[in-house]
Amino acid sequence: MNFDLTDERQMLQDSLRRFLRDNQDGLRASTRLGDTENTLGFDAGIWGKLAELGVIGALFSEEDGGFAGAGFDLTTVFEELGRAGAVEPLLDTAILGGGLIAALGNETQKELVEQVIGGELHLALAHGEPNSRYDLAQVETTAQVDGDDIVLTGRKAVVINAEAADYLVVSARESGAASDEDGISLFLVPRDSAGLSLRGYALLAGGRAAEVDLDGLRLSADARLGAAGSAYAALKRATNRAEVALAAETLGAMEAATELTREYLLTRQQFGRPIGTFQALQHRMATLLIELEQARSAVINAAGHLDGSAAEQALQISAARNLIGRAGRLVAEESIQLHGGIAMTEEYELAHIAKRIVMADHRFGDTDTQLERFIDQSAA
């Protein structure tokens, strides 16, 4: 057993951490609530530098044009993003959008991956719908073949990074019932296509998303990614990777929140002494530190099984995300409570970090949903 990072990953971690620390102001600017100027949701300059640093390439395998791409590469990158509270849409452009094109695309389509790795192209996955909640197979948007064209009709919900994306990877049903795994296809849709309209908005935890309406949107058949009706497996694979990345990002944020709280308990004076000298608070700090170690192990479990069987992945990912969901909520709430009023202010870094932690639970399946998936899997 060896739980140390490889030299390559250690270097990636060090350089990314340093870069994010040096660019705190730029990173935070994209998270300000009420900033209606920034319709990108992130800082384009920082994005370019992340690409230069090789951070995007680290999320893809050599075969796909990157240089890493394993579970622990994802967790190395995302833990740092989480620690810094970054809202840069690496999950959306690289892991989801880029990952799906790499998995399903033909040679021409795959050229887009190169541009993603180079930092020149943005993507979003338009998959969730108003009625789908966290069910990956639930797709009501339809794709109808009409001669050489395909016509998309439906509504996609809370599509993160949609406004900044050059292409949306859109899921639509070509056959089957609304919640069948079979019959779902993916399409590459230029964002400025006729028949596509966006209603963009900010997200509480930073970044932006949009409601996407597809109103008889026409595509040529070569916009389809892979074979008709068979995208589910690739979608599952991409979201599995995204869930591991998200768990790692949340872990990084939990570390940051815990560290800020630890420092605050040592410095904040009330009743003539640091509040960290009150045992009521000491024990709670100790609990956070224990939970943090548990969370780290859960992320390691999930990342280490990302190449395992489908069943193994499902079990480990649900376990990790359920544990992170519980421990994350505890860390976020306790960090705020132990700080008192100051942590409630938008200006104080912890507020943003706490929101990242809690709101992560609303992607791909919340704590309860993960518990159900775990039960399904362990009973199977």
Partner: protein, 399 residues
């Protein structure tokens, strides 16, 4: 033991329901139900409606224009207001300052300020906390130095709720820097329009402008604005706190919140069934409801004891802790029920415009409210401080 309300109490409840059905504007209850902000005008409007009815000051004695309702009546009124999604009355003037003036204020102060509180002419805010004085309130540093017929005030208050709307602030200030902490503090009424006062907004993590910093630079305050005696302010502050801690259990808010959670969970499908039928979600909602049912009775037990003249002791601390835990859990359930639609931050919707929520009804406010209500366990004496009080009473001085 009788768990039922008396005939008179039931008649009173019917009267309150009737009033709310007639007088509570629909756009107001809609905004409240969806968790949208009312704005200053909204608060003032509801204040005026209650004043016209003579129901603005449930806790005031009749001689000052109040209803002089007993604790059970007040409870019924609050419960029905919450159930009907009526706005919360801003407590600073009516529920906090007024009892202090009624007990410790001069006749001139009572005659001047109390009617203006009722009419809504004055909007009060509370200037207790300072950056270095939170839980340890007695360490406050804002100085008031007497010069002739004025005090000259210098210092900074913080967390001043709705101070941006207020034209008056009641403050704790240090008048004797040499006295032991609690001893040198006075209770001052300060006109916010006095030169030297600056109000700076603090934006909270849900994007709301609810609290402020208030800075005082050589602010001249007439000595008539001192309440009671100089250096005795701590006594009045503590008296005020006993009033601040009424309705601390927030049973009505929790009941209304739980209803909203159930509404949303009925409308959301999860694994082919309404979320409300999902065993994990349903179990958590049921646990919150069970806790709430018991707390509602704990609350009534304490209230009926208070109605018969016994002052609540550590029970109010217990209600604060349990009540806030339950409300925060219900906020968490609402956020979860909203699913992915908890993520959007659509300030136009929250600020009371007619922008509909992006997702299910109530979803826009679900996560912001969850974060905003982290304050419940921090302010008004944090839950840790409440537990210290409970432990101190039950275990003795060691806590």
């Amino acid at each position: 033991m009788d768990l039922n309300y008396s005939v008179e109490e039931q008649a009173f409840r019917a009267e309150v329901q009737e009033f709310l059905a007639q007088k509570l504007p629909k756009e107001m209850s809609d905004a409240m139900r969806l968790g949208h902000d009312l704005g200053k005008e909204g608060h003032e409007k509801w204040h005026a409606i209650l004043n016209e009815q003579g129901w603005l000051a449930p806790n005031w004695p009749q001689e000052f224009g109040g209803c002089e309702w007993n604790a059970v009546q007040r409870h019924i009124f609050e419960e029905e207001c919450c159930r009907a999604n009526a706005p919360r009355i801003v407590p600073f003037g009516l529920a906090m300052l007024a009892p202090v003036l009624q007990k410790f204020g001069s006749k001139a102060q009572q005659d001047h300020y109390l009617p203006r509180i009722l009419s809504g002419e004055d909007w009060w805010c509370q200037g207790y906390s300072e950056p270095g004085a939170g839980s340890d309130l007695a360490s406050l540093k804002t100085r008031a130095v007497r010069e002739g017929d004025h005090y000259v005030v210098n210092g900074q208050k913080t967390w001043t709720t709705l101070g941006q709307y207020a034209n008056w602030i009641f403050c704790l200030v240090r008048t004797d820097p040499d006295a032991k902490q609690q001893a040198g503090i006075s209770f001052l009424l300060i006109d916010m329009n006095t030169p030297g006062i600056e109000v700076r907004p603090i934006i909270l993590l849900d994007g709301t402008h609810e609290v402020n910093e208030v800075w005082f630079t050589d602010v001249k305050v007439p000595v008539e604005n001192l309440v009671g005696e100089e250096n005795k302010g701590w006594t009045y502050a503590k008296y005020l706190l006993t009033h601040e801690r009424t309705n601390i259990a927030g049973v009505g808010f929790s009941s209304a919140g739980l209803e909203a959670v159930k509404r949303m969970a009925r409308s959301q499908m999860h694994r082919g069934r309404p979320l409300i039928e999902n065993p994990h979600f349903a179990a958590r909602a049921a646990r919150a409801e069970i806790d709430l049912m018991a707390m509602s009775t704990t609350n009534l037990r304490i209230i009926s004891r208070a109605a018969s003249g016994q002052a609540p002791g550590v029970e109010s601390s217990m209600l604060k802790v349990k009540g806030t835990e339950i409300r925060q859990e219900i906020n968490d359930l609402a956020r979860r029920a909203a699913g992915a639609y908890a993520m959007p931050f659509v300030s136009e919707a929250l600020e009371g415009g007619n922008e509909p929520d992006m997702g299910p009804e109530g979803s826009a406010a679900a996560a912001p409210q969850y974060f905003n209500n982290r304050k419940l366990s921090i302010f008004g004496g944090s839950n840790e401080v409440q537990k210290n009080i409970i432990a101190k009473v039950k275990l003795g001085g060691g806590a």
